[in-house]
């Protein structure tokens, strides 16, 4: 999701030390994901500064007592910047407090579904002088950027962001344990073994709190989703982006699916999905298990990108067929001040069948690489 072109271009590739089921050192003292991540909690809720990129990603759909519906997104990114010279301490041995190895970025958005309005904001600072940080202390993970923050604790998460134009302040209670995707969190993103990330999700969080838009504050509740992912390597050269879905169905099951789009228009074999049962067990699904058809598109007047806006997702293995549709077409995120990536991230509604039973739900979708090919770690 991040496009630090230079950072990425500087990395020719990981020096692979394929140690089965481990995280291997890469060039520039970076670690690469090369096998099962063996995620442990709460340790792995915290930051992994050895990897180039990491994000804590919250989305959700909530409504107030009058039925006004809102979608929200709050994502914190950590991006490592490595100092390219050894002369930082050349003259005195003392290092400036501003000499940082990490950048913290964040994107926030609220979709007023009833009003069909989308509000967004972005921030970025270096992890220094108490401007931003990501740390875990015992069982509490705290990530903050100015006055935006997330607190991830065993019992609940708290997310807060005030952009001036809008704000959100939500308490999120996990209703299921975290789910590791892929092979014990090792989520393949390409053909190469190191083209992967460590990835887990809280697929069902009960959300409660306040959303403010302009001067109006709404007391809301609903469902949220949390992803935490870290990796080092960029997308492989034949890929241009991804279509990602988080789906929460009314039968208390969830589905995460991502489709890596190749430049030739097909989906990569590395695309995959995870189905989470009512009890919280996960079923890993491969590309061959998934069938995604685009049913409609929407063209952004601002970026000129032609995004899918309606899909039909079929997973025959699960007897699952879902129609997914953007609740508001224009949920395009423009982030010139931080990542520089223009992407679509928005609330979607879902209707379909699971094992012959009608199901419906809400979810969030992320579409990248539609303005220009994305070359970032996933």
């Amino acid at each position: 999701m991040i496009n630090f072109r230079n950072l990425i271009l500087a990395v020719v590739g990981c020096l692979i030390f394929v140690v089965s089921g481990t995280l291997a050192p890469a060039s520039e003292n970076l670690l690469c994901v090369t096998g099962p991540c063996h995620l442990k909690f709460p340790e792995d809720h915290g930051p992994h500064p050895g990897f180039r990129t990491e994000w804590w990603y919250y989305t959700g759909n909530v409504s107030d007592k009058n039925g006004l519906k809102f979608g929200f997104q709050l994502t914190f990114f950590r991006s490592r910047i490595d100092n390219k010279s050894a002369n930082t301490q050349k003259s005195s041995g003392q290092v400036s407090a501003w000499r940082a190895q990490q950048l913290i970025l964040a994107h926030a958005a609220i979709t007023e579904i009833s009003e069909k309005k989308h509000h967004q904001s972005e921030r970025m600072v270096r992890q220094a002088v108490d401007m931003a940080g990501a740390a875990r202390k015992r069982d509490r993970t705290h990530v903050f950027l100015r006055n935006w923050s997330l607190d991830l604790m065993p019992e609940y998460h708290i997310i807060e962001a005030d952009t001036g134009d809008f704000a959100l302040e939500l308490t999120l209670v996990p209703m299921k344990k975290p789910v590791s995707h892929g092979d014990q969190g090792y989520s393949r993103k390409g053909q190469k073994v190191e083209s992967a990330s460590c990835y887990y999700s809280f697929t069902r969080l009960k959300a409660q709190g306040n959303i403010r838009v302009g001067t109006k504050t709404f007391e809301v509740d609903g469902l949220a989703w949390m992803d935490h992912e870290f990796s080092t390597n960029p997308l492989e050269p034949d890929l241009e982006g991804w279509d990602w879905f988080s789906i929460q169905l009314d039968n208390h099951t969830e589905l995460m699916a991502y489709f890596l789009r190749k430049k030739d228009g097909t989906y990569s074999d590395a695309s995959s999905a995870t189905f989470v049962t009512v009890s919280g067990d996960s079923v890993h699904l491969n590309r061959s298990d998934l069938d995604l058809k685009i049913m409609n598109t929407w063209k952004s007047k601002q970026s000129g990108a032609n995004y899918p806006s309606q899909w039909r997702l079929r997973i025959p293995k699960l007897y699952l067929e879902l129609d997914i549709e953007a609740v508001v077409n224009d949920q395009e995120m423009k982030t010139p001040e931080t990542t520089g990536v223009t992407y679509w991230e928005g609330s979607v509604s879902i209707a379909g069948f699971l094992k012959g039973q009608t199901v419906s739900g809400m979810g969030y979708t992320e579409l990248t690489g539609y303005v220009k090919p994305l070359n970032v770690p996933m």
């Binding site: 910047i81 501003w98 940082a100 001036g164």
Partner: protein
Amino acid sequence: MTLFRSTNFFFGLFFRFSIRHMAKFPGRALVVLLGISLGAAVFTSVRLSIHASLNSFNQSMEMITGIADRVVTRPGGRVPETLVGPLLKLPYVKSASPFLYTYVQPAMTGKSPFLLIGFDPILDRPFRKWQLQNSTLSDQGIWLDLMRFPYSIFAGQPLLDDLGIKPQDGLTLEHVGQSAGFIVLEALSSEGLALVEGGRVAITDIATFQEFTHIWGEVDRIDLLLDSTVSENQINQIHKMLPEGITLGMPNEDQLSGQRMISAYQLNLSVLSFVSLFVGMFLVYSLVALNAASRRKELAILRSTGASAKLIFFIFIAEGGFFGLVGWLIAIPISSVFAKYLLQGVGETISTLFVRVSVDNLTLSAWEIFVSLGMTMFISVLAAFQPAREAMKVFPKEAMDIGQPVATHRKSSRYLAITGVLFILMVWPLSSIPPPENFPFPGYLATFVLFLGFSMLSSWSLEMVAKITEPALLYLGKEPAWLAGRYVHSSGMRTAVSVGALITAVALFSALVIMVHSFRRTVELWANQTVAGDIFIRSKMADINRYKDPVSQNAMVFFNNLDEPVDIDIYRRLFLNYGKNLYQFEALKWDVYLRYGSFFWTEGNIKTGLQRLKNGEGVLVSEVFANRTGLGVGNLFQTSIRGTWFELPIIGVVRDYRTQGGVVYYSLEHYQDKTGDLNWGGVRVFFKDREKIPDEAVFQMRNRIIECCGDSVNVTLGTQLREAILKIFDETFAITTILLLIALVVAALGITSTLTVLVLERSRELNTILAVGGSYGQIRAMIFWEAFLMVLTGEFLGILCGIALSYLLVFVINKQSFGWTFLYGMDLKTLAVSYPLIIFTALAAAIPAIRMVFKQPPANLLRER
């Protein structure tokens, strides 16, 4: 349509009546045009040169200030960087950017220091605009290279050109005791920050800046961008969260105080350059008046054939306008030549005296061009006003009169003289009016009234001089001199106007000679007494960096352990603002300093004052500080310095010619006790044995200091420093001298023009004298005596006017403009040499007139009628 027709008719008539007439006598018109164009060129080039400096300064300041709404600073110190985080967390603070800047020296290049800016390239993005030559900020990551590559910079192209390097080249930079290798990542494209200091600027990451300069945990300031809906209450919340001594102010305070200082200089130089234009005005008057007077018959014929008085009036006004417009057009190429020379001089003067500017080329300003054209046209039209009024009074019946009508001015000369005296009497009360903020309007008004008054005296004075000198003339120059006296006595207004021009030029010359002499003498005394010390030590580039960097630790250790027959005066100097005024706060060791140095007190009791100063019971302020702030002896000096509140009575006011604002002196020991600031700004070394200070000892001491801490401090010998002060002074006044000389040239042109006109006008009479037996020599002698009487009168009145003007300059205009006055003193030697020289030059200006006399054969002239 009617308007078009009447305009067309007017210009047709103007062309036939005025332009053709001018074409008949091209010499006269050319002299006037030359004079007015010289004046306009001086005025324009001075204005453009200062405008270029001001523009450069403003541009630099605006680019550095960015679009901040508020700025967090610490008077006399730096701001803790730990404030950035809390400030960024306030919801109504859209962004906060820590900012550092300093001048650094490129090592071993012999090149002058340049400005290095340190900031966080992420936080700063909303504040200041900058781009790279080969990419844009929207190319993510390019700017992140500043963070990724420690000791990397982006540099302005002019800086790279100056240093002879290109992107990816290495460069060693020095700063107060530190030296480090940098890499130039990329050149800045010429916009935004790259325009600061004419492009001699580089930017680096804040971490690199701090590590290079050893400024740990602090930044120069924090710029804030606030939400557009921020309330007073929220601003107060920011105030409350700032620790003691940290202030939240407007971002452009430094710019405003800099502008104020440059503006005063701009005004002074503009007025000085205006003098040439003003003197040129006499030329226009002289010729238009001649045309109006000598063409009465033609005017009467015009009137009798239907021309209205208004039409006649406007024809002569148009003549003035014509001279203004054409003179201004001729001035354009002359201005560009003048400006080339002035640009650098003015820029350097402003940099030395007030604020650092970097001017490479002229920036054409529509406003300055408008002011220049407008002013030239205005004075030309104004000069034509009175002759035009005279011309419109011509009656149609004069067309029938026989002979050349000659206007007499006997009555009006007396009337004018009385008015002139009244004007001169008004000068003192006018100059005593308190000026609006740093704008010496009363002083200039008084000057204008003084010039006007003396010019009005010229006609009557000519009559008086001619009358009084009549016997002497007859005795010394026989008939030609006597006749010259008689003519001058009755020559009327045109001669008087020319003398008026000479009065203006001589007065200005005298006044400036006196002022510059007084100023220099006072500065010399000040330099020798107040700028006391045998060796001066301060941090490298302390002046240019406004003493932000204290003397290094090893230098402090060196001086603390010095076992020599010397006394050490340690001082701490801080650049601060008192209200809107920039000033320097200097804490010094009174007991040491006063053993070797002293002040010129203008207010206060020296006897008791010195002891009170030593006891830290008050402060001594400079005249500039007192005049700028309106504070004097007995008033309280109240300010916060480095978080400590100072409330001290002003014990005395002293002369001080340090530029960049006034000075406040306080006891170092008490300053250190109050603030805990033990840093040294600099050190003055005094050899104890004042009777004989061997040069060798001074040099040895200097070498020892350089050996110990030469990488972090500048060591200057007292003699060198004092010489440098006087050199700066002389360079500053070089521009003044040039402007003055041009004014004198224009005045000489006035004499040439007037005498030529007078000769031409009297060609018939002069040839009649020749026909009735006068010799060529006698007639030439007569013209010479006429010129002599005019020059003598002009010079005499000019000297008187000049003395009065010098008082105004020394005690009013300088005080109102810059806040200082000087010990008044006449440079009798220069004046004694100059006055005969002026007479000689002015008489030389009469030569073309003398040569004109017999251009036409007398028989032809006499036959014409």
